[in-house]
Amino acid sequence: MKAGLFIPCYIDQFYPQVGIDTLLLLEKLGVEIESPANQTCCGQPLANSGMEKETTEICSHFIQLFSSYDTIISPSGSCVLHIKEHVPESLHDEAYFHVRDNIYELTEFLTDVLKIEGMDGHFPHKVGLHQSCHGLRGLRNGKSSELAGNGFSKARDLLSSLKDIHLVDLDRTDECCGFGGTFSVFEEAVSAQMGKDRIHDHMINGAEIITATDMSCLMHLEGVIKRNRQPLRVMHIAEILNTAIS
C-alpha cells in the first residue's frame, strides 16, 4: 500500500513540525509513505466563505496530486472532511471518488486501517484532549456528547494507551474551540471568547498540554494562551504520539 501524505497549507507554513512528526510516526509504523511536492490547499477557506464553486482549480490540483496513491493520510480532520463532502460536483469523477474513499485523518488511519489498539510509548504529562468538531461530528472519529449511545474516541484511545499519560476530564468534553476558519476573523469577539472558555476548562481541570487532531484549533487556542500568558502549551496528537514512541 502506497500512501500519500497531505499536509494542509497552514501546517506546511506555520507548523511544519506537525507534518514532520506525522511522517516520522507513519514511517516508524511501517507505512510506505511519501508527501508529493507542490501541495497547496484543499479549498476549505474559500468554500466555507461561500465560494465553493471557485475551488475547482484548487481541488482539481489536489485530486491530480493524490489520485495515484492507494491511501491518503492527513493530520487534519477538517481538510479530510472537506475533501469527502465539499469538493465541487463538477469534479466528481473516478479519480475523485478514489481519493474520497481512501482519504483518512491520522487517528482514523491508525485505528481503522493499521488497526492499532495501543501504542508502545511513554508520555508522562497531564494532557487535555480537545475534540475537534470536524473529526468528531464530521468524520465520526468519536461519539459526540449530544448523541446517546456508547462513548468512543479514536484519539482518546490512542493517547490513553501511552504509559504515564494523564488525560484530564473536562467539564464540557466537546464544545467548539471557536476557530471556524474565517469565523475567527469575521466574528472575532465570539471566536476569542469561545477559545478562552475552552482554555479555562482545560486549566481548571489540570491540563498542561492541550492536544487535538486539528492544528487549526490548536493554532487558535495557542494564540489566546500566548496573549494571556497562560501556563499551557499545545501539541498536535502526531507530535505527542511520535514523541512518545521515540
Partner: protein, 455 residues
C-alpha cells in the same frame, strides 16, 4: 457585519455573558440526562425525522385530510397565504365578536406575523399569558429564545419591571414571589377572557384535532374560559396519526427543557358546547421553502430550541443579536429565505461545529444548511466586497504551487521582522485577542525536500 457587531456588544459585559451562556448550557445538560435515560433516543430521532419527511412530501394531502376532519368536528378552518392575511383573519374574528381584548399563549408564528403590533394598532389589547412572554411584553422587547423568551433577563430586572407594572414590593426579586404576582394579575384576564389564542404544536390529520404543550397552564386557562379559541399553525405542523404524536412528544420536552413531558399536553378535538374554535393554517413562505432542495428539511422543526441551547455562538451573543424572530442555528437557516440581503450574515454567525445537528430531535442537518446558505449568499452576490476580494486573491494563490510557496515564505519572513505594533492593530482582527503563530524557519515542504529528497 450585523450579528458580529451585536455579538461584540453583548460580549462587552463579560460576567453577564458568562451567566447567560451557563444558564443555557444548564438546559443542554438537562437534555443530555434525558436522552441517556430512555434507551432508544437515537431510534426515536430517526423515526421522528422520517415521519416528518414523509408528511412534508405529502403535505397537501395531509392538510386536506386534516381540514376535512377538523370541520366535521366543528372546528372552523381558515387558510392564510401570508402574515397579513393571518392578522386580518384574527382581527375579523375579534371584530365580529365585538371583543377588544385577546388573551394569548405562546406562539412563535404570531411573532413571525408581527400580530401583536398589528392588533394593538387596531385598538385590541393583547395580553401575553406565558410568564416569559408577559415579562418581555412589559419590557417592550422581543423574545430572545423560542422557548425561554426572557432568558436574557436577570431576576432583578424582572423585579423592577413588576414593581412598575404590577406594583410589587420594592426590592423583592424572589422568583416565587414574582411568579405569584403574575399569577394573580393574569388570573383576572383569564377568567374574563372572551377570545383566547394559542399556537399549535401538532395537528393530527386522521382525527382533525390538535395538541398544545405548556407547563404553566396558561393556554388552557385562557381557552377554557373564553367563548372563542383561535389557534394558529404553520402548514408544517400536521402529522399523520395519533401514534406519531407519541414519537414527537417523547422527544419535544426532553429536547427543549430536559423534562420527560410538559405539564400539560392538551388535545383539542371539538369546541365545547356553545363555543367556537377557529384554526388558521398559515403558509407565509413555507410552501415555497418546501421546493428548495437543499433547505426544505428545515421545515421538520418542532420548535424545541435545543439547537439554541447548545450553540456556543448563541449562548455568547444572545438571541437579540440575530435580529429576527427566531434566532440561533434554526433561525439562521430559516431567516435567509425571508430576506437574503438583510440576513446574509446569519449563516456566517457560526463555526459550523455541528452540535446543533446532533441535538436536533428531528435530525435537521442544520450546520450543512448553514454551509449551503453561504454558497447562496455568494451566488446571489450578497457576500461583502471586502470578503470576496480577499478570498478570491487567496484562492488564486492557493491554486498555484509556486505562488503559494513564495507567498508563504514571504509571509513568514515578514511576520518575523515586522514590529509588534504593526502586526497587531485595527487591521488585524485575529490579533485583537490572540497572538499570531510564531513563524518557523522552514516550511514542511522545504524540510521534506532537504530531508527526504523525493521528486
Amino acid at each position: 457585519m450585523k450579528h458580529a457587531q451585536a455579538a461584540k456588544e453583548f460580549l462587552s459585559n463579560g460576567p453577564r455573558t458568562e451567566w447567560h451562556s451557563q444558564a443555557l448550557w444548564y438546559v443542554r445538560q438537562k437534555r443530555d440526562i434525558q436522552k441517556d435515560e430512555i434507551g432508544d433516543w437515537e431510534d426515536l430521532r430517526e423515526q421522528a425525522s422520517a415521519i416528518k419527511e414523509h408528511t412534508l412530501s405529502n403535505l397537501d394531502q395531509y392538510l386536506e385530510e386534516f381540514e376535512t376532519k377538523a370541520v366535521q368536528n366543528g372546528i372552523r378552518v381558515h387558510w392564510a397565504a401570508n402574515a397579513e392575511e393571518h392578522n386580518n383573519i384574527v382581527l375579523e374574528i375579534l371584530q365580529k365578536a365585538d371583543v377588544r381584548k385577546l388573551v394569548k399563549s405562546k406562539s412563535m408564528l404570531t411573532e413571525e406575523c408581527h400580530m401583536n403590533p398589528f392588533l394593538m394598532e387596531k385598538g385590541i389589547d393583547v395580553i401575553e399569558s406565558d410568564l416569559g412572554e408577559r415579562i418581555i411584553q412589559f419590557a417592550d422587547q422581543d423574545p430572545s429564545h423560542i422557548v425561554l423568551p426572557a432568558i436574557h433577563l436577570k431576576k432583578e430586572e424582572v423585579g423592577k419591571l413588576f414593581e412598575r407594572k404590577l406594583d410589587t414590593e420594592s426590592g423583592n426579586y424572589d422568583p416565587q414571589y414574582l411568579t405569584g404576582a403574575a399569577r394573580k394579575h393574569l388570573r383576572e384576564h383569564f377568567v374574563t377572557a372572551e377570545v383566547a389564542m394559542t399556537g399549535v404544536n401538532f395537528a393530527i390529520a386522521e382525527s382533525g384535532g390538535f395538541a398544545v404543550c405548556t407547563n404553566e397552564g396558561n393556554a388552557d386557562m385562557g381557552v377554557h374560559h373564553a367563548s372563542i379559541h383561535i389557534a394558529s399553525m404553520g402548514i408544517e405542523k400536521v402529522i399523520p396519526r395519533k401514534e406519531h404524536l407519541a414519537v414527537f412528544l417523547r422527544l419535544l420536552a426532553r429536547s427543549a427543557t430536559g423534562q420527560p413531558i410538559t405539564t400539560y399536553t392538551s388535545h383539542f378535538q371539538k369546541p365545547a358546547e356553545g363555543r367556537e374554535i377557529h384554526l388558521i393554517i398559515v403558509d407565509n413562505g413555507r410552501s415555497e421553502h418546501l421546493g428548495k432542495d437543499k433547505f426544505w428539511r428545515a421545515l421538520k422543526c418542532i420548535r424545541c430550541g435545543a439547537c439554541l441551547n447548545t450553540c456556543p455562538v448563541y449562548r455568547l451573543s444572545g438571541g437579540h443579536s440575530y435580529g429576527y424572530t427566531i434566532p440561533g442555528p434554526i433561525g439562521s437557516i430559516l431567516t435567509p429565505r425571508v430576506d437574503l440581503k438583510q440576513y446574509s450574515d446569519l449563516p456566517f454567525a457560526s463555526s459550523l461545529c455541528g452540535s446543533c445537528t446532533d441535538v436536533c430531535p428531528v435530525k435537521i442537518e442544520i450546520h450543512e444548511q448553514l454551509y449551503q446558505w453561504r454558497q447562496e449568499v455568494y451566488e446571489q452576490k450578497q457576500l461583502s466586497g471586502k470578503k470576496k476580494l480577499g478570498l478570491r486573491f487567496m484562492g488564486r494563490i492557493l491554486a498555484r504551487p509556486r505562488l503559494y510557496h513564495r507567498s508563504g515564505k514571504f509571509a513568514r519572513k515578514a511576520l518575523k521582522i515586522t514590529p509588534r505594533f504593526l502586526v497587531y492593530n485595527r487591521l488585524n482582527p485575529w490579533g485583537r485577542s490572540r497572538d499570531m503563530p510564531a513563524p518557523p524557519k522552514q516550511s514542511f515542504q522545504e524540510w521534506y525536500r532537504e530531508n527526504r529528497n523525493k521528486s
